[in-house]
């Protein structure tokens, strides 16, 4: 009898379940639930309470509604017996965290707190905790905290303690009322199993935890705020568990929500980007995974721990047990092209696309593909949304150079694609230069499906072959794979994520091979990119920051 696992992927605007055949990774059924309250960035749901700029929240009930809607839907759609579903895994955006009571009740579900924005889930892209992040970084530098190196020298405002400290400073009553601060991913697992667990991935990448050193010291937290000193023991736990473990069995209540059998194995929670790595067939060092969507997440495994400047994090067992998982990122990739299409594509091109019944992106790709490498004379710095790796500087901005009166929209479009490829190459070379080998790329996410030109440009710029994940929903597939591992071989699953990946993860047949002619021209262009990257990004001319400062003052 065939066995199945379900992966549920909790995104920014929706959640998605996929039912997967454990024997071959085939995706049998998919269901998507659009969150009732979406990403909340204007008003608290059902109120006139306005959020300040840079806030982004979610409603935890949307996670429950996702489970209640999507799992029954994939079961029904497939006609598969609930008893044949032996494991469930979930993944979520991170750091996406919330304050809850000791029994798991979100503070946002309590009448007394629900009108306080700090009672709600702080979504990964909640950017209002920058002052707290600045304090975290300054204090760490001042105290010589060595863990800072593991995070490229900088803790992001998106991460766990910046968000926690913001709650403490801006809403001490919420901080006091919260018995637990928890990642949404772990909270969902708690709701499924009745058991509170903490996974090594979010703890390592977002909450400054490491397998060898644990969390930062009490003294460090006290230096941030005296009330924060005991946050780990008061509101979290030091029991952080490695990925691949079973969190517990499906609770009776969750079984009712889903139609699955009580006791079905539920895996420890995972993060959407990280869980895509084994789902892209990567469980060993040297093969870098690029999850390419609005932004790009870059993951690679290493056998040793190295300090790599400007990356997002290095966490032992953080992606695949037994390896150091390195994460880096580019904050503006698909977003970049979307911005261009919305703001810079002339009417004549839109009309041509309409007449030829083409998506405008496809038309631009067609026109851009006709250009020879270097023909546009353009070069861009891909910093429209700052630079995540390796400069770690949100105040950097975009640059385009080389424009003439003959410059065409498709030339700019191609230059923006090339710029993101140069940015990726900088990251890859930084890993390589610091002891973390990279010899092949595997792409997944939305972009590789949509834009073959982009993939070929990446191969030509970077000079490495690029393979593409066969799944169009690698995160959900990866979560299902961890579900199969939580079930274990004895019940029809797998004993390790390595075994699961061998069978359940696949690549497409096509791959992108660097074209030597293009590569040689891109060498010249990349050298120019590096010069500009260093000049504008490393203090040669901080004009971008000064322009931002002038901008900030302009409306005052």
């Amino acid at each position: 009898m065939a066995k199945y696992a379900i992966g549920v992927d909790f995104g920014t605007e929706s959640g998605r379940a996929v039912l997967v055949d454990i024997s071959n990774g085939k995706e049998i059924a998919t269901a998507v639930y659009l969150y009732l309250n979406g990403a909340i960035d204007e008003r608290l749901p059902g109120t006139q309470i306005r959020l300040e700029p840079d806030w982004a929240l979610q409603d935890p009930q949307d996670y429950i509604r996702t489970i209640q809607n999507t799992i029954p839907a994939v079961l029904q759609g497939s006609g598969i017996e609930p008893a044949d579903v032996i494991g469930i895994g979930i993944d979520c955006t991170a750091c996406t965290m919330l304050p809850v009571k000791a029994d798991g009740t979100p503070l946002s579900a309590l009448l007394e707190h629900r009108d306080n924005p700090h009672a709600w889930v702080k979504l990964w892209k909640h950017h209002a905790a920058q002052p707290e992040a600045d304090k975290i970084n300054e204090t760490a530098r001042g105290m010589g905290e060595r863990w800072l190196d593991r995070y490229g020298g900088k803790i992001s405002s998106e991460w766990f303690f910046a968000k926690s400290l913001q709650i403490l400073e801006e809403a001490p009553e919420i901080y006091a009322a919260a018995d637990r601060f928890i990642e949404a991913a772990d909270w969902v697992v708690w709701q499924l199993t009745g058991v509170e667990t903490r996974n090594a991935c979010t703890a390592g990448y977002k909450a400054i935890w490491s397998k060898r050193e644990g969390f930062p010291s009490q003294e460090y937290f006290a230096a941030l705020h005296h009330q924060l000193a005991t946050i780990i023991d008061d509101k979290m736990t030091r029991n952080v568990r490695p990925l691949g473990e079973k969190a517990g069995g499906l609770s009776r209540q969750a079984a009712e929500w889903t139609g699955l059998k009580p006791g079905t194995a539920v895996a420890l929670a995972n993060v959407d980007a990280h869980v895509a790595v084994p789902a892209s067939t990567v469980t060993e060092p040297g093969r870098m995974v690029m999850i390419m969507g609005t932004s790009t997440c870059i993951m690679v495994l290493g056998s040793e721990e190295h300090i790599v400047p400007g990356i997002c994090g290095c966490v032992e067992d953080g992606i695949i047990p037994g390896y150091f998982g390195y994460e880096a990122g580019q904050s503006c990739v698909g977003d970049h092209f979307a911005w261009f299409v919305e703001n810079c594509v002339p009417e004549s091109y839109q009309q041509e696309a309409q007449e030829r019944k083409m998506d405008i992106h496809i038309l631009l790709e067609e026109k851009a593909a006709r250009l020879e490498v270097g023909e546009s004379g353009l070069l861009a710095l891909d910093w429209w949304n700052g630079n995540r790796s390796v400069l770690v500087d949100a105040d950097l901005t975009g640059l385009l150079i080389g424009a003439t009166l003959s410059t065409k929209p498709e030339e700019i479009y191609r230059a923006l694609i090339e710029a993101t490829a140069y940015g990726a190459r900088i990251i890859i070379e930084t890993f390589q230069d610091n002891g973390v080998p990279v010899h092949e790329l595997v792409a997944c996410g939305g972009l590789p499906e949509k834009n073959k030109l982009l993939m070929q440009i990446y191969a030509d710029v970077i000079g490495l072959p690029i393979k593409v994940s066969a799944s169009q929903q690698t995160s959900a597939l990866g979560a299902a794979m961890f579900g199969a591992v939580a079930a274990g071989q004895a019940t029809g699953g797998y004993n390790s994520i390595y075994d699961a990946a061998k069978v359940m993860a696949h690549l497409k047949d096509e791959m992108y091979i660097p074209n030597p002619d293009n590569l040689s021209v891109y060498e010249l262009l990349f050298a120019e990119y590096v010069t500009l990257h260093d000049y504008f990004g490393q203090g040669g001319n901080s004009v971008m920051k000064r322009l931002k400062a002038i901008k900030a003052n302009a409306r005052k």
Copy 2:
């Protein structure tokens, strides 16, 4: 009885006549003739003979047709007696030159030569003589020719001897057949009067002539090409006459063409940009004229000769007799905004303009005007068409810095306007720093009429008040003013261009005054512009040239 003058302005695609009341400068009637053969850049008229890239020609018969069409039209339109028209002036683009026989017949009018592109008028924007210009400059530097300093250190490929040398090198039979090489402006005056004259303006700005030193030496010309050694005495003349003189009286034939009286005074020819200076009321130092259209021509008078680095030229008596006329320029102004509108304005904006029945430029101006200074965070280098002054480098290209995912089209549009204003300020400061005072600006040309935001930005960036010429056809008006001066006071005209300007030239009532708040923010932004200008324009990083070299190789 009122007296009148006619000015005829020969442009790139058309010629225009204006009939002006000498007593007050009122423009009584205007007529435009669209050249039958336009600017010729693909095929020789009536043939399949293709032109090479960068070529641009005109048909001299189009000048005659302009005279035959427009002068009768303004007479007829106004009902004014031909006898009351006492003077004619003309102006033309320059250097726009042609080879002719001793009797003035253009070689392009002769069957034996008409199939040779070199027999035709080489239009100002004929850019195929760059190798010859390079040779002219290298040779001059090698021989230590001091006149090079008067031209900002570089002779343009657009100018007289580059074009002449190209004819000699590429079509020696045309060079040999030509009895005269002559500016189109002087040729038109010849056709009107039957007398060959040469004016100091084109000779000074385009043919390296100066009142004190004459033309370059025979040794210099011989060093360029042995056959060129005697070009001045063989095919030109050393009798170069100051502006404001009468060239001759209208010939019987030209009287027939026009309906005017034979013997009507015809002024020495002038150049379209330079003749706009007195028509903008400027006949004294300190008040700079900006002729703003697709590109911007900048003119200022000085009492002394100064070497100003990177300007186009300094010619004694070249604009107004008695002064040194300084010329500088920006090669991409109106063209810049036209490029932006054609290539970068999204469909949604075009639709909004259509719904509100507005020109798209007006809509962009409206949106851009709502922005505070510095609010966009953007800065541009206005080098989409290279830099004419003061870097004198056609290989520089455009740059935009400061873009984010929130950047809007009107922000880019405003940044491009601001960039041209910064470019103008660099030129003005270069004059001021080198002993040529500038304390007020007078704008004329198409742009000041169309874009009030642009004018205010210029005032705010430059920190000087800007007045605007009352005439929308300052070149033709200026030509008519010189016609009135050619006629002289005795016949109802004026004895000098100063006298004519006092009565016939006017400014609009409105003027643009710098806003001190804006000025203070623009000081910050201009400082950033200067840093980038020097870094990219003066060898700090020659990436623009390297990108152009890569581009040139891309299609090979």
